[in-house]
Amino acid sequence: MADLSVNICGIPFKNPIIPASGVFGYGREYEQFYPLSKLGGISTKGTTGTKRTGNLPPRTAEAPMGMLNSVGLQNPGVDAFIANELPHLLSCDTVILANIAGSTPEECAEVAAKLDKTDVHMIELNISCPNVKQGGAAFGTSCSAAAQVTKAVRLATKKPLCIKLSPNVTSITEIAKAVEAEGADAVSLINTLLGMRIDLRTRRPILHNNMGGYSGAGIFPVAVRMVWQTANAVNIPVIGMGGVMSGEDAAELMMAGASAVQVGTAIVQDPYAPLRIIDELNDWLDANGVDKADTLTGSVKPW
């Protein structure tokens, strides 16, 4: 049994596997399968200043090696999150990353300020949602906008602040450096790749929003590449995600530079995916004589 624990921004995680924001709600639907304490952490459904109803359906489509989604940040708003969901989450003996978003830097800062008064462990600011008209990826695709929203949220909270980055950019390392300069404590990447599918019979896009985020096994090599580039460009921890379906995938993303790994689409397919990935990672470490999972981080030997 290897030591799976990792430490990010001073926060101890019992293992590096974290359900990604959006696929896991607030965890309640998964407690019928296993105690949430088995997880390294949970990144909660993206929370905005006020309630959002989300996009018109259809919101998902099958894609080669993955899926598209266009939920559009449906959530009950930060006050309802703090009142109805956070107390239970904080009793689950796992690290809680509160994922937040907003249409303006002010809205993001307001949400962060409210969470700053709670016992949430980390704030993950989503500047990369491809499915909303305002904010979202608009913040995450230019260095100046990314810096501006990071600065506003940084002023609103002393909690460890992780910025979730978009892959739909020319250079993810420039965005990562811009948010690091404004005081981000960590970055998480990659969010979904913007994609589209068309129903041949109706000639209509399958998603009502026309476009949506592509996730799943197909984006894994892009995630490995971007985590590697980003980890080499900044001096803050990188939380990796994007198409991780197995323990071996998690090990690979850690070698590329990730300090922890989020799992999304694998959970949509199989509720047990996080536990399976934790066990597979442990098996890989044991089989390869690695005592501590955190020694994997950045251990790739590039040509």
Partner: protein
């Protein structure tokens, strides 16, 4: 180093597989614990073999607690359902079940009208079994080649009315014509319906006109099936008229017709 112990928790044997029409298949799955919990109107979420990411939600057509089996009837619509149709007795299937909120049923001595359209017909069968001779089952299909489950409904003791769009079997025309006749003959305590959206909308409109409670089973492209990922949204309104998206997988698939914004 694949950890099969987790996959095993969701793996069930296929007891039998029967082709009903050119495109419709009936599958019986051995799953005693699931069958013990399953309720009419709930669904199963099946992961086809191959390189599929999303599961396929399919409504439950039969619950046999003694045999410990569930029966589902589905139509080949695309590659995923095609892969499921290739399963045979003795194979196994990856299934999350039972899922969702089913029908809320009155006393079984109540008169009910069950309306099924095409591949929306199967979830009406457990209801017909429950209400027996007190049920009227009105089913609509494109043509006689698409007709399924009529003997099963008759075996429940229910009155069956068959309609086809082209008149090649049963009555010619839409299910709403016999539905209105049956309502006028004797007002039912409940109407339950599953099928294409225009059929559900017309059924809900008749139910509202005659002030009869109506429950509809809806379909939407789905993700987790558990209520977490929020992709299978359904536009609804609460009692105060406030609009909100509920989710077919958790709040549904069965909704009161008045909740749904058609």
């Amino acid at each position: 180093m694949k950890h099969d112990k987790y996959t095993a928790l969701l793996t069930f044997p296929v007891r039998s597989m029967t082709q009903l029409t050119k495109t419709a298949w009936s599958m019986v799955i051995e799953c005693p614990e699931v069958a013990a919990k399953a309720q009419p109107g709930q669904f199963v979420n099946l992961l086809p073999d191959g390189s599929f990411t999303l599961r396929r939600p399919i409504s439950i057509c039969g619950i046999d607690r003694e045999q410990g089996t569930l029966r589902i009837v589905f139509e080949v619509r695309g590659k995923g359902t095609e892969a499921l149709s290739e399963l045979r007795a003795g194979d196994s299937v990856n299934m999350l079940a039972p899922l969702g909120h089913g029908f809320s049923l009155p006393d079984k001595n109540s008169r009910v009208i069950l309306v099924g359209g095409g591949i929306g017909t199967p979830p009406m069968l457990p209801l017909a079994q429950y209400f027996g001779k007190n049920a009227v089952v009105i089913s609509g299909f494109r043509n006689r080649d698409a007709v399924i489950l009529q003997e099963d409904f008759a075996a429940c003791g229910a009155k069956t009315i068959l309609c086809t769009d082209d008149g090649s079997a049963g009555r010619s025309g839409l299910v709403t014509l016999p539905l209105e006749e049956e309502i006028k003959a004797e007002k039912p305590a409940l109407i339950c319906a599953c099928g294409p959206l225009p059929m559900l909308k017309a059924t809900a409109a008749l139910a509202e006109t005659y002030e009869i409670p109506c429950q509809v089973s809806l379909e939407e492209r789905m993700g987790c099936g558990l209520g977490a990922c929020l992709v299978c949204a359904c536009r609804t309104q609460d009692a105060d008229g406030n609009e909100q998206y509920l989710h077919v997988c958790k709040n549904g698939p069965v909704f009161n017709s008045q909740e749904v914004i058609w």
